[in-house]
């Protein structure tokens, strides 16, 4: 049976991570893979670690906070070390529906893609708040301009990777700009890429998280620094 590592980066998610993990654990039982759930606790100062440990889920802890990109890279490095066939990343704030894991996994199982992005724009555009949609469009244009890749959701945190992608993708950015860096890596390593529609669950809690509209300039600057480093 193929192996899958489900990576959840978490920073101060004590409020929601317990129920999120319960739902995911139920959903992974239906998957046609041997699935390992992995939480990357990114130096949380609240009870995130305690709750994750109680949920009996594997956890890797950054002793200090290093950001979303760093957590995803840690998760992918773990997946590479254990020679997983696939890796899927999901947000731990509960905005992703665990039932969509199979949708992201399917193109990987069928070898139709090395990287799968779960797009929030393909199925339920009406659910995304206007400012988020505008912000997403701006980042999609940035992705097209910088990497010549057309995507409908460059900021999605729901992504799937084949073994080849796990081995080839080397992330250098540490924070939110990682979403765009994935496209640099797709382009650089000439990985097969596809998108699948996913549902999105917006709550007051999840709306406080994610890339804010004003972040675009900081992200461009950091991506520039990454290129010049």
């Amino acid at each position: 049976m193929k192996t899958l590592i489900l990576i959840l980066p978490a920073f101060n998610e004590a409020q929601v991570i317990g129920p999120v993990l319960t739902k995911i654990k139920l959903a992974v039982k239906k998957l046609p893979t041997q699935t390992e759930l992995l939480v990357v606790n990114d130096g949380s100062s609240d009870n995130t670690l305690k709750i994750v440990k109680k949920s009996k889920v594997k956890v890797i802890t950054h002793i200090i906070n290093r950001g979303l990109g760093a957590s995803l890279a840690t998760g992918l490095e773990y997946a590479e070390k254990v020679k997983a066939d696939f890796a899927i990343t999901m947000d731990s704030d509960g905005q992703h529906d665990p039932d969509d894991i199979l949708k992201v996994l399917t193109p990987l199982l069928k070898k139709k893609a090395d990287v799968v992005i779960g797009s929030r724009m393909l199925d339920n555009k009406q659910d995304m708040p206007f400012l988020r949609r505008l912000n997403n469009k701006a980042f999609n244009l940035l992705t097209l301009g910088l990497f010549k890749i057309t995507t409908t959701d460059s900021l999605s945190g729901f992504r799937g990777f084949s073994k080849k992608a796990i081995q080839k993708i080397k992330l250098k950015t540490e924070r939110m700009e990682v979403s765009n860096e994935f496209f640099t890596e797709i382009k650089r390593n000439q990985l097969k890429f596809t998108e699948v529609p996913i549902k999105v669950i917006y709550t007051d809690y999840s709306m406080q998280k994610g890339v804010k509209p004003g972040n675009i300039f900081a992200i461009i600057f950091r991506l520039l620094l990454r290129l010049l480093r």
Binding site: I60, H62, G67, T74, E77, E174, L225, R226
Partner: protein
């Protein structure tokens, strides 16, 4: 011909000489690479020449189409400061990246132990 310096020239020149002496000390205790040593010594030497012989900056200003020699110094300083800030940002990014690598190594090795 006897040169008479303005007090401001003497103060600036003494400060720049002090800066050169610090650069030499940093090279001596190996905290500065040879490239950085050459960069900073060259920069401070040029600044000393500009302070002692300000008329030279006027010649450069004429060649560049700028009105006054002092304007050349201001423009050059701004460009240099932008460059140095950018270099510092890159250095900081590298340090952050190294720190992350270390944190990741510890996190993964802890996982292995458990």
């Amino acid at each position: 011909m006897v040169y008479s310096f303005l007090p401001v020239q003497i103060i600036f020149a003494l400060f720049l000489l002090f800066a050169v002496s610090r650069v030499l000390l940093r090279l001596k205790d190996s905290t500065l690479t040879i490239n950085n040593f050459l960069f900073w010594t060259g920069l401070f030497t040029l600044a000393i020449i500009g302070v002692v012989k300000p008329e030279l900056t006027t010649i450069i200003a004429d060649k560049l189409g700028i009105n006054r020699g002092s304007d050349v110094v201001v423009y050059a300083s701004i460009i240099l400061l932008f460059y140095l800030i950018f270099r510092t940002n890159i250095l900081l990014e590298n340090l952050r990246h190294d720190l992350t690598k270390l944190v990741r190594m510890i996190a993964l090795s802890e996982k292995k132990k458990s």
